[in-house]
């Protein structure tokens, strides 16, 4: 085989070192002889194997360089949102929401967006391990099968997993357990919703969580339920919540009451928010139940008594479209919530038990029992998959080793796998077959999109192998679906066709197993008593963050660098205190406090001061202190004054899971101070009082109005912000020949969930810079969600504002660049030309929105596997150049080429930016502003529309729709 590459090698070898030698006859002959021999040898050798060969026989439907999209199901958490995964060159690169999906309807949360990065995690466990030594699958299978053989007649087998909903998975587990004498499948969720299911068992005779339809809720009261951020189905709930608030007549716009002790994403966007101490919650629910069910009864001593009376009135008058949600894990309280909802006629309208949610199926009581069994040493085989009990129950971790044989299916080395006898890793969900039934009657499939990068095996397949079944995964899955699921529908007669449609659509509807479950009043229980913190004590509230949740993705750098929408901190495990509480303790932002309780090892955390928090509450985030976070020690640029994100071997933050049962703590200053890594130092639109005019100055970047005010005047949000139209001194210097692309962002739909931030990061190869760089205000995110707080105590109002390059028509950045590295396109985009940029940063200085991001260093791209997550359609920027939102110009180009190939014209909606695509509330709309029929143009022409800093006459292309709230008149 003579390839040009081979020839070149030959040529190189035939060049002989003749210089400097006298070329006499003998040496000439010697060299010639050597040359001929060497040449002959070299031409006999095989050409080096180069893996970058073109496809001789290309896979069907795959064109190199062209993206293809496959429907699957996101398994980053058990919620079961539909995902449409974009693959390029054989690599799944971008998770997007699957349009029309029964659960998530086309959107995905931040965690789902980020989970694609974990596929390319080079620290995943590659193949089975005995203790911590790699071994072959056969070894593990033999050992476990042997152990099972002895357990057939006697012995306890326990499978501990997170919520699993897939019919085939559950059937496999059951058939595996059926082969043992005493086998049980135990599920738990670290962010448990067990009480909701348990309460429904008590009041409705069905252990399930109702499916919540927030779109139908006209009056909604949530108690400690962060349903837009960290509860069990944020995408689904956010879409419904936004639907009840979008473009509604004043009397149809929903009213959202929120009672909480912490400060959540959801609380921030509520119409009426009240602070409620954790110990007041049972009393408040009981009081509301009394008010709603008509009893009224005696006036309570609660701080929110007046509000509860008003709320009860509103709920009752909205019977049939009213809803009360509660996030507490107290069965008694939840039964009373069910009682309220039943009285309000919520079941059958805003709540549905017939097609219930299966997104959290964990049972806290069953786990407790398992711990006792383990403690008594009576468990012979323990298989753990998808959960990290050693992390979630640190006090019980040692109990796990009491199982005679302990198998972990952890994907990454975690606290649990460290204790396991065998580790049989599961593959990433993008490289495996999977099945889901997140909602009763909605079966979904997860399909592998890449050859497994690591040598893993699913729980299903491992259990089949250990039961002696040697079939391959797909056959197993199909067999199970054919037997158990196919029959639950009647529309399609052929299983092959049904299966093909299922694969194509990602999900299928089958008959739900639900049924009628009427409310039984005798199931209502009293709540467990809670005591108020004594003087000087604080109530400890453990709060998940939208990116970190229970810590299962704590090793994902995108999620760690995601600025928390509430605290605006990244890479930090911060305790939050209200301003009054901080003043009482004499601590300020960044002061480290020591949190103590009887019998517990004290926690230390830096303080973040969070207005809106209850004054008797200290919050601490869950999911920190995870194994796997040691990897971040060296993340970010290394230079002389640069500080490491973590000390070598240290974990990020502290694990607070052991404190779940602790209600009250003592908090003390430790005297230490750290500078927190925040992306937003100043969190108010009100300028500091001593720098403001006598009557104060509130900047109008976020405009807002009440529903009532907008009904009276559609332009009410712009009151007092009139700016005379700026006269044009010069004719436009860049003609707009094509469409004029722009965005419309609905601030009343944005709740700050940050899905767009991660979507943008994945789409645009935004680098991760580490804690020190964030601390130095050098985060690289192209889209950020500004958070503005005002007021104190109960009156805290929060506004979120997604902010990205505004693609100004008269862009200040374009005129100042000396080398024309930022220019305007004919279709209204402000373009950044990376390879022309010399890095003067003048553009960033003059940008009034401060959306430009500079590459201060060459950010590390050392992990070759992780680099596969990079989008090949977007340049990886080098050190010293400016970058910013491009309005996903690569997506615009891709859509245009595709449309041209098909001989069509680009229509409104053909192009979606990454942020828009994933937004659960559809707050972001992209399109052609010059086309009056486009959605974006219609939104931009509406009464709520305005542009930030339009008085500067920079003609931004991003329109914001004023935030609408529905407070009581």
């Amino acid at each position: 085989m003579t390839t040009p590459r081979n020839m070149q090698r030959l040529d190189q070898q035939l060049v002989l070192p003749l210089e400097g030698e006298s070329s006499d006859r003998r040496s000439f002959l010697r060299l010639m002889g050597f040359g001929v021999a060497a040449g002959a040898l070299a031409s006999c050798s095989r050409a080096p194997v180069s893996k970058a060969v073109p496809w001789l026989t290309a896979p069907e439907d795959i064109t190199a360089g062209r993206a293809y999209r496959m429907a699957t199901t996101c398994a980053a958490c058990p919620t079961g949102c539909g995902a449409l995964v974009t693959c390029k060159d054989g690599r799944p690169l971008k998770m997007e929401g699957l349009p029309g999906h029964a659960v998530s309807d086309g959107a995905l949360c931040a965690v789902g967006q980020a989970s694609v990065l974990e596929l390319y995690d080079s620290q995943r466990i590659d193949g089975p391990q005995r203790s911590d030594k790699p071994c072959a699958w056969a070894d593990a299978d033999v050992a476990i099968a042997n152990a099972l053989d002895t357990l057939k007649s006697a012995g306890r087998v326990r499978i501990l997993t997170d919520t699993r909903t897939g019919p085939a998975t559950l059937a496999t587990i059951q058939s595996f357990l059926a082969r043992t004498k005493d086998g049980r499948h135990v599920m738990y969720d670290a962010l448990s919703c067990s009480a909701i299911a348990a309460a429904h068992l008590a009041t409705h005779g069905l252990r399930a969580m109702p499916r919540i339809d927030l779109a139908k809720a006209k009056v909604l009261a949530a108690f400690d339920a962060d349903f837009l951020g960290t509860w069990y189905s944020p995408v689904e709930h956010a879409r419904g919540w936004a639907a009840a608030r979008r473009n509604k007549q004043p009397d149809a716009h929903s009213r959202h009451w929120h009672f909480e002790s912490s400060m959540s994403v959801t609380g921030g966007v509520a119409d009426i928010r009240r602070r409620l101490a954790p110990h007041e919650l049972p009393a408040a629910i009981a009081r509301l139940a009394a008010l709603v069910t008509g009893g009224g009864g005696i006036r309570s001593e609660l701080s929110c008594e007046a509000d509860l009376v008003l709320l009860a009135d509103e709920l009752r008058s909205a019977r049939g479209s009213a809803l009360v949600l509660c996030g507490t894990n107290d069965v008694g309280v939840q039964t009373q919530v069910n009682q309220i909802n039943a009285a309000l006629g919520a079941y059958g309208s805003t709540l549905d038990l017939g097609t219930s949610s299966r997104q959290r199926r964990g049972d806290d009581a069953a786990v407790l029992e398992l711990w006792n069994e383990l403690d008594s040493g009576s468990v012979d085989l323990l298989i753990v998959a998808g959960v990290n009990p050693a992390f979630d129950f640190p006090a019980r971790a040692s109990t796990l080793s009491k199982a005679r044989l302990f198998v972990s299916l952890a994907t990454n080395h975690d606290e649990t796998s460290a204790l396991a006898h065998w580790t049989c890793p599961e593959p990433h969900f993008l490289e495996r077959w999977d099945d889901h039934e997140a909602q009763d009657g909605v079966v979904a499939i997860g399909q592998p999109l890449i050859q497994p990068l690591m040598n893993g095996r699913t729980l299903r397949l491992s259990l089949a192998r250990w039961s002696g079944d040697q079939s391959d995964e797909l056959a197993l899955l199909k067999r199970s679906f054919e037997a158990n699921v196919f029959s639950r529908q009647k529309d399609i007669g052929s299983f092959t066709r049904w299966w093909r449609d299922l694969l194509h659509n990602g999900f299928a509807r089958v008959a739900p197993r639900g049924g009628a479950h009427p409310f039984q009043p005798n199931g209502v229980q009293a709540a467990a008593a809670r005591t108020a913190p004594s003087g000087g004590e604080f109530a400890l509230v453990l709060t998940p963050k939208v990116g970190i949740l229970d810590g299962r993705h704590a090793h994902n750098p995108w999620l760690q660098e995601l600025a928390d929408p509430v605290s605006r901190l990244a890479w930090e495990c911060e305790a939050c205190l209200s301003p009054a509480a901080a003043a009482r303790l004499g601590v300020s932002e960044g002061d480290v406090v020591r949190i103590e309780a009887q019998g517990m090892q004290a926690l230390r955390a830096p303080v973040h001061i969070l207005p809106g928090l209850h004054d008797q509450v200290i919050t601490f985030p869950l999911g920190y202190g995870r194994a796997c976070t040691e990897r971040f020690a060296g993340i970010g640029p290394k230079w002389w004054e640069g500080e490491r994100t973590l000390a070598q071997g240290q974990r990020l933050g502290s694990n607070v899971a052991a404190w779940r049962e602790i209600a009250h703590v003592r908090v003390e200053r430790s005297g230490e101070h750290v500078e927190l890594a925040t992306v937003q130092d100043y969190r108010s639109l009100e300028v500091p009082a001593h720098l403001a005019p006598a009557h104060g100055e509130v900047r109008n970047h976020v405009r807002h109005a009440s529903v009532a005010a907008l009904a009276a005047d559609p332009h009410a949000a712009h009151a007092g912000t009139h700016h005379p139209a700026a006269a044009e001194l010069w004719s436009p210097d860049h003609a707009n020949s094509g469409p004029r692309f722009g965005l419309a962002i609905d601030l009343s739909a944005c709740n700050g969930c940050s899905a767009c931030v991660i979507a943008c990061q994945a789409e645009n190869n935004v680098p991760v810079v580490g804690r020190d760089e964030v601390r130095r205000h050098r985060e690289m995110a192209w889209i950020r969600i500004d958070r503005y707080e005002s007021g104190t105590g109960d009156d805290v109002a929060v506004h979120q504002q997604p902010m990205m390059c505004q693609h100004c028509g008269h862009a200040p950045c374009e005129s100042v660049c000396p080398v024309l590295a930022t220019v305007h396109s004919a279709d209204g985009l402000n373009q950044q030309v990376y390879n022309r940029c010399v890095g003067t940063r003048y553009c960033a200085n003059t940008c009034p929105y401060k959306v430009r991001r500079f590459n201060w260093f060459d950010y590390p791209h050392e992990d070759a596997l992780e680099n596969h997550a990079l989008n090949p359609d977007v340049t990886v920027r080098t050190r010293g150049v400016m970058e910013k939102c491009s309005m996903c110009v690569q997506r615009i180009q891709e859509a245009r080429l595709e449309v041209r190939r098909l001989g069509l014209a680009v229509e409104d909606g053909d192009i979606q930016t990454a942020c828009q695509q994933t937004c659960p509330t559809q707050a972001i709309v992209f399109g052609n502003l010059d086309d009056p029929k486009s959605k974006v143009a219609m939104l931009a022409a509406g009464g709520r529309s305005y542009r930030v800093l339009e008085e500067l006459n920079v003609a931004p292309s991003v329109h914001y729709l004023a935030d609408v709230r529905n407070p009581r008149a």
């Binding site: 720098l691 900047r699 000396p818 003059t846």
Partner: protein
């Protein structure tokens, strides 16, 4: 020494407008420009001695200090270019800080040189003769220091040549003529070229003097640079014409360079930058800081090089008066800025100035105000002007204050602009400090080398302002 100097001063059109050089010029004050009864030969000897006899220990000490600072700067700059701009304390909100502060500071310093040599030449201010050479040298060195910063502040300094309108193979892609940074390139480039030419032209007669006093290779080298100066009346006549022409050419540059530099800010959208007062405000600030720096250097040189007879109290008084005058205009500019911000009624502008005065970086504003507006007011008093220590201290304060003026304008404006969400602070790194130190090191290294190898005082011009009695005494050259 019996060498016949060909650089004998002639009755020049500029300097010898009157046959009795000193009489009308000195009518305002009785202090003569040159004291100590020095003769023409004394002038030549005193100025040439450090060059021909070598320098003293104090020079070496100063040189070692300056060179160390320069080396620190070189190391810091090397490290920054190798690692990234991230080694400076900048962030997404504050894109410029020490870099452009130093750039504007050094450009400003340079102004006094041009003003002294060109404008004062045209205005026939004789007191300039003793200081113009060093002032011009200072201009050139300051512009070199200034020019470094825009290059090293780039993210990719190896592509710095892209800011020049060079022919290239990139099609129609050229430079952006709307960008004030590009205007800077032209302004600074022109300024440097003209200043260098003017300085060199002024050196030629003195180089000829040196040539005539030298031997061997030194004579040849100096001969090359003296361009065959023969001291003929026709040579002098043409020389004077060229000087006046170049002075006329350089004069608009005094105004233009800093006006252009100010447009970096004035054309930008940042509240606190976006002001039409900036060009005159920057020019007068530059003259102010430049004179302060000239006076600082003169006071040092006077002591170190023993030039008490040439840089006399009269010179010091004259420069002090310029400083108090320009300093007052600078004060006026500061208050004008406040007035226009208030008068504009634009909330962002008003806030920017309140933030300067009372915000988190207010300390820098008050350093600026104290050093630039209040401190120079002491120079109204003759007693203060007579005290070299006091004058020296005030000039140092003015230098500090003018550095802070640029820092205040650049950094405090950037830290808090339109969207409060993006407000951020700024803290310099050691690398940044080292780079700034390096610029001072470079400046003083060059200046000390200049003191060592070139005549620091313009010999032939000083001779024109010698009192006639002493001037006619030394007839041996």
């Amino acid at each position: 020494m019996t060498t016949i100097s060909t650089a004998t001063p002639k009755a020049s059109a500029i300097h010898h407008a009157t046959p009795q050089p000193h009489a009308p010029a000195h009518s305002a004050t009785d202090i003569p420009l040159i004291t100590g009864g020095v003769t023409r030969s004394d002038v030549t000897r005193n100025v040439m001695d450090p060059i021909e006899q070598g320098v003293n220990g104090r020079w070496w000490a100063a040189f070692a200090l300056a060179l160390t600072a320069l080396l620190i700067g070189v190391v810091c700059t090397w490290y920054q270019i190798k690692t990234g701009i991230g080694t400076w304390g900048l962030n997404r909100t504050v894109g410029w800080a020490f870099d452009i502060t130093n750039f504007v500071f050094w450009v400003g310093i340079g102004h006094a040189g041009t003003l002294i040599s060109a404008v004062l030449l045209l205005l026939r201010q004789k007191w300039r003769t003793s200081i113009n050479r060093s002032a011009e040298a200072m201009t050139i060195f300051a512009v070199i220091c200034a020019g470094i910063f825009p290059v090293i502040h780039m993210g990719r300094p190896w592509l710095a040549h892209w800011v020049f309108p060079l022919a290239n193979t990139r099609g129609t892609l050229w430079v952006n003529f709307r960008s004030p940074l590009l205007w800077d390139v032209f302004a600074i480039g022109t300024y440097f070229t003209v200043s260098l030419l003017f300085w060199y032209l002024g050196l030629i007669p003195d180089l000829a003097t040196m040539r005539d006093r030298a031997k061997g290779l030194r004579k040849k080298v100096l001969g090359f640079f003296a361009m065959g100066w023969n001291g003929a009346a026709r040579t002098w006549s043409r020389y004077e014409t060229a000087c006046v022409l170049l002075a006329a050419l350089a004069t608009p540059l005094v105004v233009s360079v800093h006006s252009v530099v100010s447009t970096d800010f004035a054309t930008s959208f940042v509240p606190g930058w976006h002001a039409t007062v900036f060009p005159p405000y920057f020019v007068i600030g530059a003259v102010f800081s430049g004179f302060a720096m000239v006076l600082t250097l003169m006071l040092i040189a006077r002591g170190v090089m023993r030039f008490e007879n040439y840089i006399t109290m009269k010179h010091i008084h004259a420069m002090c008066k310029v400083i108090v005058f320009t300093g007052s205009i600078v004060g006026l500019a500061y208050t004008t800025e406040l007035f226009t911000a208030w008068w504009s009624g634009v909330g962002y502008e008003v806030f920017a100035f309140k933030n300067r005065m009372f915000g988190p970086m207010a300390w820098s504003y008050w350093i600026m105000f104290g050093c630039n507006v209040i401190a120079p007011q002491a120079l109204w008093f003759r007693k203060v002007r007579n005290s070299l220590g006091a004058v020296f201290l005030i000039t140092l304060l003015v230098n500090v204050g003018m550095w802070f003026e640029r820092f205040v304008i650049i950094v405090t404006s950037l830290t808090r602009d339109y969207l409060p969400s993006s407000w951020a602070s700024y803290t310099p790194t050691w690398i940044e400090g080292g780079t700034m130190l390096g610029a001072f090191g470079l400046f003083f290294t060059l200046f000390l080398l200049f003191c060592r190898f070139l005549p620091m005082i313009c010999v032939f011009e000083v001779k024109t302002v010698l009192p006639p009695s002493t001037g006619s005494k030394g007839g041996h050259h």
